[in-house]
């Protein structure tokens, strides 16, 4: 059922964003603090082994929110720790996540070349 697949992506993705909004509004947190907390939460949930089932259920609904960043960092570290023990915890970390950071850097540089600042919006 392809429709159900998209529906789950919408609902789970929306719920994670709604949690972020609650942290910002009710907890009176800055966006930076909210995102940091969500990344840490994603990493802890991943360590408990509950994030992969969420991805299996919701697909991009779980991989697009920033919590998946914490998840893939943790999974990279755990996967290497299984192979190489103590050293792997440090070396494996970016094995899975690299695409988010590398593409942000590359596209950020391209954007700096292409676009001019329109002044601060906020």
């Amino acid at each position: 059922m392809i429709f159900m697949d998209f529906l789950f992506a919408f609902i789970i993705g929306g719920l994670i964003c709604a949690i972020g909004q609650v942290l910002m509004d009710v907890g009176k947190m800055t966006p930076g603090k909210t995102l940091s907390i969500m990344v840490v939460a994603g990493s802890i949930i991943s360590g408990l082994g509950w994030y992969q089932p969420l991805i299996d259920l919701a697909g991009a609904g779980a991989t697009i929110p920033i919590t998946s960043f914490g998840h893939s960092l943790t999974q990279g570290a755990i996967a290497e720790a299984q192979k190489h023990g103590w050293v792997g915890v440090l070396t494996g970390m970016f094995e899975v996540t690299s695409s988010g950071i590398s593409s942000a850097i590359v596209f950020g540089f391209i954007a700096a070349l292409l676009f001019k600042s329109k002044g601060k919006v906020n």
Partner: protein
């Protein structure tokens, strides 16, 4: 007394945060962005033979590419004012934080301006993500080697 008076007046004047409305906006916009991401996932699975396990990486890269276009034309900022966390929490919001900082500091030059300020907003996400991943993996390694849990 003066301080109390001030607080009271301040409370009356500041508009109340429309909690429910904000959360609903974040839910719908965030859900929509994830649905677009899911469509991209299918695109990569069907046309480029990625599996469901490996498809996360190209999807994230594509979302950040789209975020670059929207940020460059000033549209993502407008979306952010409407949706709040709905546009900040998805990975395109992470891209937006990096890319908008890069564009904004372009006038200060490429090394000190773009290079030095690119991760000004998004750096904390990387810092806390990496640190917590390190701690979680370390705890798990200790628990496994002492025989409390299995991998």
């Amino acid at each position: 007394m003066e301080q109390e008076k001030f607080d009271k007046i301040e409370q009356e004047i500041t508009p109340r945060t429309p909690y429910v409305k904000n959360v609903l906006k974040a839910f719908f916009v965030g859900g929509l962005i994830c649905t677009i991401g899911h469509a991209i996932t299918y695109f990569y699975i069907i046309f480029f033979d990625f599996t469901e396990k490996t498809v996360g990486n190209p999807t994230v890269a594509t979302m950040i590419f789209l975020s670059m276009l929207l940020t460059g034309f000033g549209l993502y900022q407008k979306l952010g004012q409407f949706a709040g966390a709905g546009s900040a929490v998805p990975v395109s919001g992470f891209g937006n934080a990096v890319i908008s900082a890069a564009i904004e500091h372009r006038t200060e030059g490429f090394v000190l301006g773009v290079g030095g300020n690119m991760f000004k907003l998004a750096g904390s996400v990387i810092l806390f993500g990496v640190t917590s991943a390190f701690v979680v993996a370390l705890v798990k390694l200790i628990l496994v080697s002492t025989g409390v849990i299995e991998w």
